[in-house]
Amino acid sequence: MPTSLIEGSSLLALDIGSTTTRASYFDVVDGRYRFIAVGQSPTTAAAPVNDLGQGVRQAITDLEVLIGRRLMDDDKHLILPAQAEGTGVDNLVSILSAGPAIKTVVFGLLSEVSLESVQKLAHSTYLRLVDVIGMNDKRQTHEQVDAILRQMPDLILISGGTEGGASHTMKKILEVVGLACYLLPEDKRPAVLYAGNQELADEVKASFEKLVPTLHFSPNIRPSLEIENLEPAEKELASMYPKIRQRQMMGVEELSALSGGKLFPTSFAQGRMIRFLSNISEKATMNVDLGASSTTVSGAMGGRLSLNVFPHFGLGEPLSGLLRHTTIEEAMQWLPIDISADIVRDYMYTKAMYPATIPATPEELAIEQSLARQILYLAVRQALGNLPKARPPRAGLMPNFDPIFASGSVFAAAPTLGQSLLMLLDAIQPTGFSTFILDQGNLLGILGAAAECNTLLPIHVIESGAFINLGAVISPLSNAGAGTPILRARLTYDNGEETMVEAKQGSIEIIPLVVGRTGNLRLEPVGRTDAGIGYGRAYRVDGVQGSALGVVIDARGRPLRLPSDAARRRELLKKWLWTVGG
C-alpha cells in the first residue's frame, strides 16, 4: 500500500453512472500521483433501493478490499480526511450521470440566435427538451402556460435579448414562465437558469426568487447577434445539476455535501478535461462516451469546448427509441454475421428493459457492437456542426482530432482491443492523423472533477499509463478506385529498423509498434491523396508512441461506404475484423 508523500494527497473519486457506480482511489507513489484501484457496484438510484448512497458504500467497500485500507468507519461513514493511523482519504470528488434525463423547457427569442444557443446549452448536459418556446411560437400565452403545466419540467432555461436590446418581448417570455411556475404545485416547480439580457436580471430575481426552488443567473449566452458565450452558462448549469438531482434521487444531497460541492455532471467533468488536454497539446481533442443512458461527444480546440450530450442515444433504455432516428437496416449494417431483423429488434427492446445486462453469446455481441457503431455514428454526425474545426475537411466529413478519447463499456469490455478500435473507426470515421485512447476505467471525467482540488493529479495520472493507447490511425482521403495504392507509410523504429507499407484504397493496414517503443512515421500520398495535411503533401510524425494495435492506416475511404449486397458486406466486415486481430 503506497503512503502519501504529500500532505492531503489521497483522493477518492466516485463515478455514479446509470448502471454502475465506481469508486476510484488515487495516491502518491514515488512522488507522483497514481491511479491505484477501482471498486464497483450496481448503481442503486432506482427502485427498490432508491438511494444512490447504498451503491456508493458498496463500491467503496469493494475498493477497501482491493487497496487494503479502511475508508469508512463502522457506521459506513466516509473517513474524511485521512487519519494518522492510515484510514480514510484526504479528498473526495464525485461525478454523476445516473437518473432520467432532466425534463427541460427552453425559452429564447429568435430561432437562429438565442433559441439556437440555448438549445446548445441544453445539450451540454443530461437534459431532455420537452418544449422550445420562442418569439415566433404560434401558441397563445395561455397555451404555452398549459404546455408547461402538462410537461411539469424539472428545469427552465431562459435566454434571449441582446445586451442593450429591446426588453418588451423578453418580458412576455418571463410572464409565461412566471405564470406557469405560479400555477404548478410548489413541490413541482422547476429550477430556472436565466441567461438572457442582463438588464432584466434584477427583475427576474425579484419575480422568481420566492417562486422557484433554484434560481441561477449566468452572463447572456448571446450578448450580441454575432457573439455566442456558452461557457459561463454551462458552468452555472453544472452547478445547478446536483440541486436538481437531489430533488429526484435520494443520496445526492449527502454526496454533494461530502464532496464539498465538488459533484459534477460527468459530461461537464469530461469536457473540462478535454479542454485542458487540448490546451496543453495545442491540438483539437475529442472525447466520445457511449453509455447505457446517453452518448456524449465533446471536442475542444483553442480553448473552445463543444459539449454534446444525447440522452436519446445510448446502449440501454434509449434503445427502445433508436428506430425513430435510424432504420433497422442501418442499425444492422455493421453485422458480420447473418441475423434477422426480428432478432435485432427483440435485442433492442430486451436491452432497453434490462440496461445493465451484457451480451453473453457471439451473436448478441455482434448485435451490440453493430448498434454501438450506429449510435455513435449518429451522435457524432449530430455533433459535427458544433464541434470546433481544426482544418476543414471535405464537406460533411469529420474534422481532424488528435487524440480521440473513448469510453463506455461496449469499448472497454470488448473481447479484443482491435474490436474496440474498429468500432470507433467505423462510427467516428476520422480524417488525417489521430491517436485513439481507450479510457477503460472511465477516468477522464474523474480527472476533470479532481482538477477542481488538485491540478497536478490529472497530469500525473495521464502520464502514468492509466489509459490504453489503442493506436495511431491515419485516415487518408482519396477518390481512387478500390485496390489502387494511395499511401506509402514508412515507420522508423527507435532501434533504427524500418517497416514500409503501401496502403490500397479500401483496405486497413497495420504496422506493429508495441507499447514501450516509439517510431518516426513518414507518410507519402500516392496520386491525389490527402494524408492529413492536404492533397499530395507528404509529412512526418515523429515520436509516435507504441500502442495496442500500432500504426493503423484506415484507407477504406471517407465517408465509409459499405457494399449494399449483404453477403459481400459481411465478408468485408469479417476481413476488417480479422485485420485488427479478430
Binding site: S41, P42, T44, A45, A46, A47, P48, V49, N50, Q54, G55, Q58, G99, P100, Q140, T141, H142, V145, D146, L149, R150, E175, L179, Y182, L183, P185, Q248, M249, D342, R345, D346, Y349, T350, M353, Y354, A356, T357, I358, P359, A360, T361, P362, E363, E364, L365, A413, A414, P415, T416
Partner: protein
C-alpha cells in the same frame, strides 16, 4: 452483489399506495375494507387556462385594470360573468368566455382555469385501508399471489381470469378471442397480430395478461382501454415457467391487473395480484437480495433467455464467456437440469 428481484410469489402480503394526481378528498377511513371498484378519493382536474387581458380590453393601464377587476383568486365564475367594468359614461365590461375558476390576477390580466373534470380514484385492489395520506391518497394492504411483469399500457382493472395459455409458448390468435371471453381478463402467451387487440375491444374484455408481445404492437396496445400487461418482454418469447404455473393454477379467480409502466426511478412496475384468503398474514416480499447459492433466478438474456433455474455457485473470479467478454458469473442449474455459466448482471432473482 445486489440482485434485481422480480416477484412471482404464491402467497404474500401486498402493500400498495394509491395516489390522486392533485390534492383532493379522501372518501375512506383507515381500517375500511375496500373492493377494487370502490372510489377511495376524488378530485377535479383542469387541463386548460385562459388568460384574459383586462387592461387591453378596457383600454386602461394595468394598475388601473387591477383595481377594476371585481373577482378574487379562487372565485368560481359562470360563463359570461363580469370580471371587470370600466368607469365613464359608456362603461365597458369584460366577461368570462367560459365557466372557470380564477387562479391568478395581476398586471392587468386575469387567468381562468377552465374545463374542470372530476377524477375518481378507485381502490384497484381488494383489501384494507392501512393508511390515509392526507388529501392525496391511501395505502391498501391485501394478501394473495403476486406476479410482476415488465411492460404495461398504463391501465388498471379487476376481473375473472380466463386461461388460454395451456403452454408457456402459447400464441394468441385473433380467432381465439370469442364471445365466451366477454368481460374477462385473458391470460395468454404471445400476441403478434393487432387483430387480437381489436377483437378484444369489440367484445369487450377487461384485460390481458401476456407472456410477450410484438414490439410493433406497442402503439396500438397503448390506445387500448383495457389493461395489457406483458410478463416477459417485447418480442417472441415464452412465459417463464414460474409465472405460468402460478397464473394457470389460479385461473377462474378474480385478479387485479395493474398495467402501470415499468419505471426504474419511480419504482412502479406492472403486476397481477390474485387476492387469496389467509388465516395468518404472510410475510412481505423481499425487495433486496444478494446473489447466493440456492436462489431461484431467471435468465434475462440469451442463451436460454427467460429460463428459470437455481443458482448453485457464485464464481469468485471473472469468467471468459463464449464471445470473449470477461464477467463475474454464477453457475445456474435450469429446470431442465442443464447447467449454464451466466453473467451475474444477466440474472434476476425470482421470489
Amino acid at each position: 452483489m445486489l440482485a434485481p428481484v422480480t416477484h412471482i410469489i404464491p402467497l404474500t402480503t401486498i402493500i400498495r399506495t394509491r395516489m390522486l394526481p392533485t390534492a383532493g378528498t379522501i372518501q375512506v377511513r383507515s381500517g375500511d375494507k375496500v373492493a377494487p371498484a370502490d372510489v377511495v378519493a376524488e378530485t377535479t382536474i383542469a387541463r386548460e387556462h385562459i388568460l384574459i387581458d383586462v387592461a387591453h380590453a378596457l383600454g386602461v393601464p394595468p394598475a388601473k385594470a387591477d383595481r377594476l377587476i371585481k373577482c378574487s383568486r379562487g372565485d368560481k365564475l359562470a360563463k359570461n360573468a363580469v370580471i371587470a367594468r370600466s368607469d365613464g359614461i359608456i362603461p365597458r365590461s369584460v366577461k368570462t368566455p367560459r365557466e372557470g375558476r380564477v387562479v391568478a390576477i395581476g398586471g392587468g390580466q386575469l387567468m381562468l382555469e377552465v374545463g374542470e373534470t372530476p377524477f375518481e380514484l378507485r381502490a384497484g385492489y381488494p383489501g384494507i385501508v392501512a393508511q390515509i395520506i392526507e388529501n392525496r391518497g391511501i395505502v391498501i394492504q391485501t394478501t394473495g399471489a403476486l406476479v410482476q411483469g415488465i411492460w404495461g399500457n398504463g391501465r388498471m382493472e379487476y376481473g375473472l381470469m380466463i386461461n388460454l395459455a395451456e403452454q408457456p409458448n402459447h400464441v394468441l390468435q385473433p380467432a381465439d378471442v370469442d364471445v365466451s371471453l366477454r368481460g374477462s381478463i385473458i391470460l395468454a402467451g404471445h400476441v403478434g397480430d393487432e387483430k387480437v387487440f381489436r377483437n378484444a375491444t369489440d367484445l369487450p374484455i377487461r384485460g390481458m395478461i401476456l407472456g410477450s408481445m410484438a414490439p410493433s404492437l406497442v402503439p396500438l396496445a397503448m390506445q387500448m382501454k383495457y389493461p395489457i400487461l406483458v410478463i416477459e418482454g417485447l418480442g417472441r418469447r415464452n412465459m417463464n415457467m414460474a409465472a405460468h404455473k402460478l397464473l394457470t393454477t389460479n385461473e377462474k379467480r378474480e385478479v387485479a391487473v395493474n398495467a402501470e409502466p415499468f419505471d426504474r426511478y419511480a419504482g412502479t412496475r406492472p403486476e397481477v395480484v390474485i387476492p387469496l384468503p389467509v388465516a395468518q398474514e404472510p410475510p412481505l416480499p423481499r425487495d433486496l437480495e444478494a446473489f447466493a447459492p440456492g436462489l431461484i433466478v431467471r435468465l434475462l438474456r440469451n442463451p436460454r433467455q427467460g429460463a428459470v433455474g437455481t443458482l448453485e455457485v457464485v464464481r469468485s473470479v471473472p469468467v471468459i464467456l463464449p464471445n470473449g467478454i470477461k464477467a463475474m458469473c454464477a453457475d445456474v442449474r435450469l429446470e431442465s437440469n442443464e447447467q449454464l455459466v451466466v453473467p451475474l448482471v444477466n440474472l434476476e432473482v425470482l421470489g
